[in-house]
Symmetry: C2
Subunit: 249 residues, 2 copies
Amino acid sequence: MWALPNFPMVEPGDDLAAMIVESANAAGIIVEDGDLLVIAQKIVSKAENRYVYLNKVDVSDEANRLAAEVGKDPRLVQLILSESKEVVRKRTGVLVVEHRCGYVHANAGIDRSNITSDAKDPRVLLLPENPDQSAARLRLTLRERTGVTLAVIINDSSGRAWRMGTTGIAIGCAGIIPLMDLVGQKDLFGRRLEVTQVAVADELAAAASFLMGQADEATPVILIRGAPYQRSEKGSGSLIRPKGDDLFR
Amino acid sequence: MWALPNFPMVEPGDDLAAMIVESANAAGIIVEDGDLLVIAQKIVSKAENRYVYLNKVDVSDEANRLAAEVGKDPRLVQLILSESKEVVRKRTGVLVVEHRCGYVHANAGIDRSNITSDAKDPRVLLLPENPDQSAARLRLTLRERTGVTLAVIINDSSGRAWRMGTTGIAIGCAGIIPLMDLVGQKDLFGRRLEVTQVAVADELAAAASFLMGQADEATPVILIRGAPYQRSEKGSGSLIRPKGDDLFR
């Protein structure tokens, strides 16, 4: 695993694929077929200009009520609601929702850190419109530019039930089967495995998240070589547990 | 990250530290100060002889009732209850409990796969009695044998709320701060970070879990070099969210 060093600041409209290839090459890393890139959600959102200026948000009555209830900025609450299917849990300072894309996420993944924010006109950063599509586009562009086929995971930090702290999860992917199904495989003694599905994309997202760190935006791209993943053209949807099957919703 | 190759089968009473050093050396890997070992729970439990023969389990009325309700072997349910503080969720085929050590875990982490199990006298494998102590002991023994100070994480596969599939988590550790507290740190633009705690031990446990795979017991030990973790003499307790603070219990 390498953290691509000296990755430049990303601005709206930037060509992420070009920046990734340049950063890798500058570090003497030539991407190879099968390499896996884990890319921080934040730089994908920035390149896609998912900024919203809080002063331009029209706040609904519902958002005003909820903001008063949980003690958050009503404009931020409006954006969280707009980005979500439903509120899963709320408490003072806490708003856990089901994001449009299905993740259960605090604040719909809307980020206020590491964002240049003028005090008079603060802005926040939403998740990419469609992280799977973002990953697929990046993968295609990288294939055009480099001639090799990579897998791409877009990761984000996410809180969990039961356990303290965030870990990296895959909010989008391309070129990798994110949920490995071991159904029917036998273990070393021929017994059918009880654990049948492994969220490999989340495990790789977590590994990359560790290397990225949290307060240092200089390494938002991690290259993983030699990871024995299975290739696929599908996205990350299989990682979402259907609400009806979820004992913890 | 290296998966120590050709790791031998582990039997009760085996000297895991010796097996780790031998496997590493046989692969040409000399452990260095600061290296981090992630060790599969299963081999720690085996070395500590945490096997229980199901035919020797005395089943309580409570376990019999619960077994009928969820459709599991009453002897297994008895062991799950004995290893747990409380049942968190139950449904046919599913028993999610709070383990003695605080993890919310399906079946209290009791494992029936990859265990040589005579059909007439089946046995299962419990989690280590105290995984933090197991990690600390291994770390001390490895320090005595090699002269270098390592960190040790014991990992297990765990299901999650909201998301499909298991990921590796740290059920015990020694020599590493498992939950990195970023409170007070500033991001690149001097703004206080909103995300303040990162479960780095879980991220490293997940990374190792990916390399270990699920159906192949030949690589239950992963060595990680160059991981920028913070050293500590504390265990993994800070990763457990107190029940009263958990919105999903």
